[in-house]
């Protein structure tokens, strides 16, 4: 498993342009970070990276992405708690929970916690793009 290096510092890079639809990817697993970043950027979206819950809240409030792709099992505060805090400030910001917790009951649990959509890991790349595209197409 363990790919070496890549400490805590997740990509804090801003999106390429202000016109871009920016997605904040919050995931402690750097493989997942890279995959999402690669796929979404290829699809023409801006990507921000957070490696844990607190970072996710911080970046979401400061950089105001258009949506968030949020993992659940993260160190510190988990994705659900991060989502709760972000929704307190920005209730309209769409948050999609992307979790490897994919027992039958988990989906309901996440939606009940306030998620706008749920993406189970592992996912097909098309599903990821479809979810983001759909949210990007919705009028703000």
């Amino acid at each position: 498993m363990a790919e070496a290096g890549q400490g805590g510092a997740g990509g804090q890079r801003s999106g390429d342009g202000s016109a871009l639809f920016t997605v904040l990817v919050a995931d402690d697993n750097d493989v997942a970070q890279r995959l999402c970043k690669r796929v979404l950027e290829k699809a023409g979206y801006g990507v921000l990276i957070a490696a844990d819950g607190l970072q996710a809240v911080d970046i979401a409030l400061k950089q105001r992405p258009a949506m968030i792709l949020m993992d659940v099992a993260m160190p510190g505060i988990d994705g659900l708690e991060a989502m709760r805090r972000i929704k307190l400030e920005m209730p309209a910001l769409p948050i999609v929970i992307a979790s490897a917790h994919s027992m039958a009951s988990d989906r309901e649990r996440f939606l009940a916690a306030g998620a706008d959509d749920v993406l189970s890991k592992p996912f097909r790349l098309a599903d990821l793009i479809a979810i983001v595209t759909k949210l990007a197409a919705e009028p703000k």
């Binding site: 498993m1 402690d28 493989v31 997942a32 890279r34 490696a51």
Partner: protein
């Protein structure tokens, strides 16, 4: 001798005549003497006779005057004739004698007369007194009489004749004893005998006299002998019929109350009550008429009859009668609730059994209601052979009897119900298959039923003396274990306690004791009832059942826990796998879709490989752990040199990690241990790899070994990140990885330390950790030394 004038003459003229007569007689004698010229001596006896008569008859003055006249008559001739002194002297002597005699006799006569007058006056007084006494006797309210010493009447007053119902002549001819009723005759005869002999002078008693019409009259009698020598007796008699009547009513009430005192059965008591009424109040028939349960009719239920009377027909009719109304005596009393009577049945025409009553010579009837709570529940009818009217006190007494009988009936019904209930309970008590003991408030066994004695195989005495106290102690001990009250303190009932008890034959039983205290009127426990059940079989069965249930329960709990653990485990494992598969699937999809730069391809291939490798290790660790936890992992046990294991693990790790510096602090005299060398290398390698992983900025990893007790103690310490205090307790749990702060991206399956702990424990050792955040962690574990080895390592290490 003196001529008395025949014709009635006025008293004063008669007195005058009487006074004159002596003087005339003297003058006559003097005339005769003078004419005959006789010697005065010769005439002297005549003068003397006249003067004496005068002295006896008339007053003193007249008699002295007459005597003087006579003396002069004697003296006058000698004086006139002038006779010689010798002739004068005798005449003078005679004259003096005459006067003296006259005076003397006159005095004597006067005294005699006075005496006679006094005697006459006394006689008159006596007669008056006698008259007064007689009047008093006749007017007296008590009978008074005089009899001789044999009781023959000499004088009887009016009242006594009224008492005896006879006229006086009749009484005077019949002695006291003969007037007395047969039964008392001996009593009065004895009394008279004692009075006659003088042994007593006074006797008092009560007798019954017989009147000519045969009726009896009770009297109180007092007989007095005025003096021991007297030959008469004073008899005083008082009619006590009224007192007797009142006494009989009172005695009747007493007898009735006596009969109803004990509320036994009404059927046994009624005849006694009827008999008391009949006997004391002198009736010949007594009937109890009972109102039926609906209050619609009356029937004769009990009968009493005096002896010897021929009442069969009347009673038969009475029994056959079913009174539903009408105006007859019994019906009237039933309706009114008031005592009623027929003084003379001859004059009644609405009496239902009139002809029979007449043929039985029953003349009077009386009926009294038996009342309970204001309702007439029965009527007592009394019939007698003599006409009589009802007196107020009798009515009151009979009404009282009716009321008391009513109350008695209610009591007796209650008592009967009680007795029935008591008999039922007694039967339940005696035949109950449950043992029942009644004990005093002090714990003394008062009673034990057959079931209880049979259960413990004791007779009552041994039960009371020894077996019961043992049981009581056992109860209290068991009760105190269950925080319940001792048997004698504050039991209200319902609590059961099971105790162990041994029977006389030595059989051990489980007895269930259920105690209920029975309070007295004041609420204090008077005695305690203890139900005793032999629950040995139940208890044995339930013990087994409880055991089975308990093991089932714990098995269930284990299964549940296992199930929960399994679900949890699955959830964690699937999460781990899916996380790893996310990269594998995503990047392989990118590669498949093509259009990648060569360096991209290489990087993505690397990610895919790493995650695939991680999945593989995860599977390996899981299988290892499963084998260890299920005890299916075999250990190839042998002599292991811990120092050599440490050195090898250090050498393997050193080639991979160049960021940390290794230090070894090995005890060269450490004895060899008994264990699986490969597994021990796995333990040390894992701990060393962790130490390297969690020292991202380099540092020192130190391996040490030493002997401690019968164990080899191994420590692997680093100078890395350290474990936060809230996580240190969980590091050996599955999938619990320290991921806070700088440690968050350090990869791992989360199973390594769990496996390490399992291996150490399989060797009989222990593992623990000390750590401080920012200063590093130290993992220590022990492995027991080989039993027979104290020095072989000397051999190995030279």
């Amino acid at each position: 001798m003196l001529p008395e004038p025949d014709a009635p003459v006025a008293p004063w003229s008669r007195g005058l005549v009487r006074r004159v007569i002596p003087f005339a007689a003297i003058a006559a004698i003097f005339a005769v003497q003078a004419l005959a010229d006789a010697s005065p001596v010769l005439a002297f006896p005549l003068y003397l006779a006249v003067v004496l008569l005068a002295a006896l008859q008339v007053g003193r003055t007249e008699s002295v005057a007459a005597a003087t006249l006579a003396a002069i008559a004697i003296l006058i001739r000698p004086l006139v004739t002038g006779a010689q002194a010798s002739d004068l002297a005798p005449a003078l002597l005679l004259a003096v004698v005459l006067v003296v005699v006259t005076v003397a006799v006159g005095e004597a006569a006067r005294q005699a007369r006075e005496t006679a007058v006094e005697a006459q006056r006394r006689a008159a007084r006596t007669a008056a007194a006698e008259q007064r006494v007689r009047t008093m006797l006749e007017a007296a309210m008590v009978g008074l009489a005089l009899t001789d010493l044999d009781g023959r009447w000499t004088q009887v007053n009016e009242q006594l004749s009224r008492i005896l119902g006879r006229n006086r002549d009749d009484i005077l001819q019949t002695p006291l004893g003969a007037l007395t009723a047969e039964g008392d005759r001996q009593v009065i005869d004895e009394a008279l005998a004692l009075l006659r002999s003088g042994d007593i002078v006074h006797w008092e008693g009560e007798l019954t006299h017989v009147r000519p019409d045969g009726t009896l009259v009770p009297v109180a009698v007092a007989i007095a002998k005025p003096s021991p020598e007297a030959n008469l007796l004073v008899v005083q008699e008082t009619d006590i019929s009224e007192r007797r009547r009142v006494e009989l009513i009172r005695d009747c009430l007493v007898a009735v109350r006596q009969a109803i005192l004990d509320p036994t059965s009404w059927d046994q008591t009624v005849p006694v009550v009827l008999g008391s009424l009949g006997t004391y109040l002198d009736w010949d028939v007594a009937l109890y008429w009972m109102v039926d349960s609906e209050g619609k009719s009356l029937r004769a239920r009990h009968v009493w009859r005096s002896r010897g009377a021929s009442l069969d027909e009347f009673l038969e009719q009475s029994r056959a009668l079913n009174l539903t109304g009408g105006t007859g005596l019994v019906s009237r009393v039933w309706r009114s609730g008031v005592v009623g009577s027929e003084a003379n049945l001859e004059q009644v025409n609405d009496y239902e059994r009139l002809d029979a009553a007449r043929r039985a010579d029953l003349q009077a009837a009386l009926a009294l209601p038996v009342v309970d709570g204001g309702a007439v529940i029965g009527v007592i009818e009394l019939l007698g052979r003599r006409p009589r009217s009802l007196r107020d006190d009798e009515v009151t007494a009979l009404a009282t009897v009716g009321l008391e009988l009513g109350q008695f009936i209610r009591r007796s019904e209650t008592a009967q119900a009680l007795r029935r209930s008591e008999a039922d309970h007694r039967a339940i008590y005696e035949r109950s298959p449950i043992g029942i003991a009644r004990i005093s408030a002090e714990g003394e066994l008062l009673e034990a039923n057959g079931a209880l004695l049979g259960m413990v195989e004791h007779d009552f005495e041994t039960m009371r003396a020894s077996a019961w106290p043992d049981l009581l102690r056992a109860y209290d001990q068991a009760a105190s274990r269950h925080r319940a009250a001792p048997l004698l303190a504050g039991i209200t009932g319902g609590d059961s306690v099971q105790v162990r008890a041994v029977t006389a034959s030595g059989k051990w039983l489980w007895l269930q004791l259920t105690a209920t205290s029975i309070p007295d009127a004041s609420g204090r426990p008077e005695h305690v009832l203890v139900m005793v059940e032999d629950v040995t079989t139940v208890r044995d069965t339930s013990d087994k059942l409880a055991e089975a249930l308990e093991s089932q329960r714990s098995a269930n709990a284990n299964l549940e826990k296992l199930d929960r653990t399994k679900t949890e485990f699955l959830s964690i494992v699937s999460h781990e796998f899916r996380t790893a598969l996310t990269g594998i699937q995503g990047f392989s999809e990118l590669i498949r879709d093509g259009g990648l730069e060569p360096d991209e391809l290489r990087a993505y291939g690397g990610y895919i490989f790493n995650d695939a490798d991680r999945v593989n290790r995860l599977i390996g660790d899981m299988l290892d752990l499963d084998r260890m936890e299920s005890g299916r992992m075999s250990m190839r046990s042998g002599a292991v040199d811990i120092n050599e294991v440490l050195s090898e693990a250090m050498a393997r790790a050193g080639t991979a990690a160049s960021t940390v510096e290794f230090k070894a602090d090995l005890d060269p005299r450490l004895p060899i241990v008994s264990g699986d060398r490969d597994r021990l290398i796995q333990v040390v390698s894992n701990l060393v790899n962790n130490a390297i992983k969690y020292s991202p900025d380099g540092g020192t990893v130190t391996l040490s070994s030493r002997a401690e007790g019968g164990f080899a103690l191994v420590s692997i310490s680093d100078t890395g990140l350290g474990i936060p205090p809230d996580e240190i307790g969980h590091v050996f749990e599955r999938f619990r990885r320290v991921r806070s702060g700088a440690a968050q991206s350090i990869p791992g399956t989360g199973l390594g330390l769990t496996i390490v702990k399992q291996i150490v424990e399989m060797h009989g050792g222990k593992i623990w950790v000390e750590s401080a955040v920012g200063h590093g962690s130290a993992f220590h574990f022990t492995v027991p030394m080989a039993v027979e080895s104290t020095s072989p390592m000397q051999l190995l290490h030279g």
